[in-house]
Symmetry: C2
Subunit: 233 residues, 2 copies
Amino acid sequence: MSTKPISTPERKRGEGVKLVYEILRDDIIDLVMPPGSPIDEIQLAERLSMSRTPIREALVRLAGEGLVTTLPNRSTVVSNIDFLNLHTFFDALTLMYRVTTRLAAEYRSTEDLAQIRAHQAAFTHAVETQDALAMISTNRAFHAAIAEAGRNPYYTGLFSRLLDEGRRILRIYYSSFDDRLPQEYVDEHNDIIAAIEAQDIAAADRLASQHADQIVNQIRRLISRDRRQQIAL
Amino acid sequence: MSTKPISTPERKRGEGVKLVYEILRDDIIDLVMPPGSPIDEIQLAERLSMSRTPIREALVRLAGEGLVTTLPNRSTVVSNIDFLNLHTFFDALTLMYRVTTRLAAEYRSTEDLAQIRAHQAAFTHAVETQDALAMISTNRAFHAAIAEAGRNPYYTGLFSRLLDEGRRILRIYYSSFDDRLPQEYVDEHNDIIAAIEAQDIAAADRLASQHADQIVNQIRRLISRDRRQQIAL
DNA sequence: TGTATTTTTCTTGTCGACAAGTTTTTTCTG
DNA sequence: CAGAAAAAACTTGTCGACAAGAAAAATACA
């Protein structure tokens, strides 16, 4: 975690919480603060030059989203990634990939398609320049845009949480990205876009399902490879 | 909302937030505080004889779950029920009914079954005594227990929110319950229990789907009937 | 009398301080 | 010197107070 103070000489009333929330959220998702990192309220308050009240409010919100864990009367820490129950994560992620893509095919507007295509362009660029970090974030934005087009807030809410959790997991292994897979992702994304544009719900469901399997399998491979390396040490 | 002060002479450190959270949550779900009700922090603080800090923390949590809406620099109010987009609610509810029941059939332990049966007994009793309010809450507990048996925290989290929202909607119409339908629900619940016990995933899925359709249709009927009455006035 | 403007009142957002626990350090004792 | 007990240092949870903004009331004006 960077400790340098952030210059916030003037802040509007009500923006403090938002600021802290977004800083912590980004730092947690990008693993700047790895799982288990303690979050010191006083330190944060000094760094952002504000009182502990807005800090605590942001922490309560983050706890509600499962990104931090509050240990009563003890420190708040960045939530751990539960590798033992990853299958529940994969299961929910796959389901949300499917239903959001289905709904997008059903309800997408022309503007939705433009948004989705813009994110896909960014993802393609990240793949071409082999920027693994950019791949992870643009991939998230691409699928979040699809979910938005589906217009079901219950799904977008859960899906966002799952995508964030997936980002954390991928960041751990981002250095060991295969450069063969990303191109496949680009192609699959394009197929999904085509199905959404054609409003072919069945195809959207099938493609999303396959895409989810690809990602799940990739994560599984990254984890097992990592485990082998650890044993080799 | 009842305004009588609650006797809380001594409270342990850290229990204040939990107390406020549960009181507000229950009052909102049971429509003691109907949608749109303003929540006055100072009034609440005086009634529970504590400062505004724990009150605000509880409100942030409730806002995270969508039960209250915070209007910046203005009052926090109980969230409205979005009747215009009820289809997104029905869609998500049906899906969660299905996946949680499927998973329960797959992973249920003997203790899970006992829990589920206990809730079903309570539901049956509520139907027999024609206690509509008890039907609503025991029905929720029954399905929540099934979801717990499926052991996917992402699903149980979303499902809980949906069940709570459904409880709010049903409470609005609780006086106009048909007395024919509840008996069907009892039978359907028993079929679902049988499928879960037999670990018949396909049957569990199918029954949950039918059950969800029943409930969705019932709510739709209650709403349209209510609308006709309003027009008749 | 009705509308615009100012003033007052009220509620929320933020702050600094203190109390209740927890962890770490120090001191005591065998 | 090792382990237990006591004390100090630190962190979190709660409080009362104040400032900023919004709603309501009062006033001015046509």
